[in-house]
């Protein structure tokens, strides 16, 4: 049985979708593993203006995607990477056999920020 907090995020997938003008994306997981997470962000003035996700997986995977996208919006890029799987586990009360979902979400944040920075560095260099 899942916590009310997790079920609220699972049933209220307000941030599901993709961004046509995304600043960066991260693609994690595989269908073979039973989970896929694509996280997109739009950055404005070093702040995450919008976060959206596409997801395939168990309820905990979907809920963590919604939780992370909600949390990321309006956060400065410097703060975004401070989110850890422990916080997700605690807030969504993930059972031990679902901790991997929080790790996937943490990895998605790290990767999307890194992808943004790499892309931005390239742009700066090219300029």
């Amino acid at each position: 049985m899942y916590s009310n907090s997790l079920l609220q995020h699972f049933n209220g997938t307000h941030h599901a979708g993709s961004l046509s003008n995304a600043s960066a994306e991260a693609h994690l997981g595989s269908k073979h593993e039973g989970r896929l997470l694509h996280l997109s962000i739009r950055v404005q003035n070093h702040q995450i203006a919008q976060a959206r996700y596409k997801v395939y997986g168990c309820p905990a995977t979907i809920a963590t995607a919604e939780y992370v996208a909600t949390w990321l919006e309006q956060k400065p890029l410097t703060k975004a990477q401070q989110m850890t799987s422990n916080e997700i586990i605690k807030d969504l009360q993930l059972p031990p056999h679902k901790h991997y979902c929080a790790l996937l979400a943490e990895d998605a944040i790290k990767q999307v920020v890194m992808n943004y920075e790499v892309c931005n560095d390239k742009l700066s260099t090219n300029l």
Partner: protein, 386 residues
């Protein structure tokens, strides 16, 4: 709060109100609460009369003699008594048992236990339709084979094995044949005079009787011999000790009597409802029926829904519809159903499968509403697919 629509009749069924009414009469001080083993007073005699009547009702559904019915706590115990009882009784004759990969854990686990005790167990595969290859079964029987144990109706995909043909093969080799009939009794005709079956496990709660009671049919002519697995008083011809739960037994008897009377009507109504459910879904892309369409019972639809994770679909439906999935998502590695993978589904396809099962109390409104909700949630999850 409104209860979710119940479409999980293969898991368990509600007790038929007529059955519950009868059970109540064997519990309270005003009723027949006696111990059927008490031979010194009327309380015991009347309880025994009720147990004997129920034994006759259970026997009647499968065209057996009442003396061939041994009460157990359920079908799991009946399977354990049959498999371990035969293995122990005939241990000097041989140590080989044959079963199938799609059996319920209540058969596979006792076989696994026997393997640990030094027995040899052959687990036969099945085809993509879920049916056993009878030539393969024939070839697997050896001189030291004691028992063939094959289920009648599969609990996940509803596929009906050809029990008569399997029994004939077993008996051709003088091997005993046990059938787990948990999901078939009361749903398809069973005739112990026609089928070459020596031991048959029966459940009450799958057919509108109470939980906690079952039975093992043990053929008398020719007699199938067993070693008891529970000792303590010598009840049930010494095969299963323990005070008989009169109210449960009466409930099972009544449920079986109703099932015998209503089998044809129930089957026709349930098949219509199942077809109606499928009609509501079949135009959606990427939905397929798992297992044989031809050789299956009326009340089940096991479907694979592409790009729709099974546990998420079930969780989304939970407030509205009660169903079962094709997986046990209890660990980081999702464990797909051993039945679905045995018929050739990939792990992903098995995890994205649902079992819809329909019963006596399902209404057309349940079906239409359940199918509508299922369509909505499939569409919602697929829209989120990367």
């Amino acid at each position: 709060m409104q209860k979710p629509i119940y479409l999980d009749y293969m898991s368990t069924t509600p007790v038929d109100p007529a059955v519950a009414e009868k059970m109540w009469q064997y519990l309270t001080p005003e009723g027949e609460f006696g111990n059927p083993a008490s031979v010194t007073h009327a309380y015991g005699w009347r309880a025994k009369e009720a147990v004997d009547a129920a034994r006759a009702q259970v026997a009647a559904l499968i065209n057996a003699a009442p003396k061939e019915i041994i009460w157990t706590s359920g079908c799991t115990e009946a399977n354990n008594l049959a498999i371990k009882g035969v293995a122990e009784f005939y241990a000097n004759k041989g140590k080989h048992i044959i079963t199938a990969i799609t059996e319920h854990k209540a058969v596979l686990d006792p076989c696994h236990y026997l393997k640990q005790q030094g027995y040899d167990v052959t687990v036969l595969p099945v085809g993509s339709d879920g049916l056993l290859d009878l030539t393969q079964l024939d070839a697997a029987i050896r001189d030291d084979t004691l028992l063939v144990s094959i289920m009648h109706v599969n609990n996940e995909i509803g596929v009906i094995q050809d029990i008569k043909a399997i029994g004939d093969i077993a008996h051709k080799h003088n091997v005993l044949f046990h059938v787990d009939a948990a999901q078939s009794a009361g749903k398809v005709p069973i005739d112990m005079q026609q089928m070459s079956v020596d031991l048959l496990s029966l459940a009450s709660h799958k057919i509108y009787g109470p939980k906690g009671i079952g039975a093992l049919y043990v053929r008398r002519k020719p007699r199938a011999r067993l070693s008891a697995q529970i000792h303590g008083g010598g009840h049930e011809l010494g095969l299963r000790s323990g005070t008989l739960p009169t109210h449960q037994i009466v409930g099972m008897g009544e449920a079986f009597a109703i099932a015998k009377q209503q089998l044809a009507n129930d089957t026709a109504k349930i098949a219509d409802l199942r077809d109606l459910f499928w009609q509501q879904l079949s135009d959606m892309e990427g939905i397929e029926i798992n297992g044989s369409i031809e050789h299956r019972i009326a009340g089940i639809l096991n479907i694979h829904i592409k790009d729709t994770e099974g546990e998420s679909l079930l969780t989304a439906l939970q407030p509205y519809v009660a169903l079962s999935s094709g997986s046990a998502c209890t660990s980081a590695t999702i464990e797909p159903s051993h039945v679905l993978t045995a018929i050739g589904l990939s792990n992903e396809a098995a995890n994205n499968s649902l079992r819809i099962s329909i019963g006596r109390f399902t209404t057309e409104e349940d079906i239409l509403q359940g199918a509508k909700l299922l369509r909505e949630k499939i569409t919602w999850l697929r829209a989120m697919m990367p």
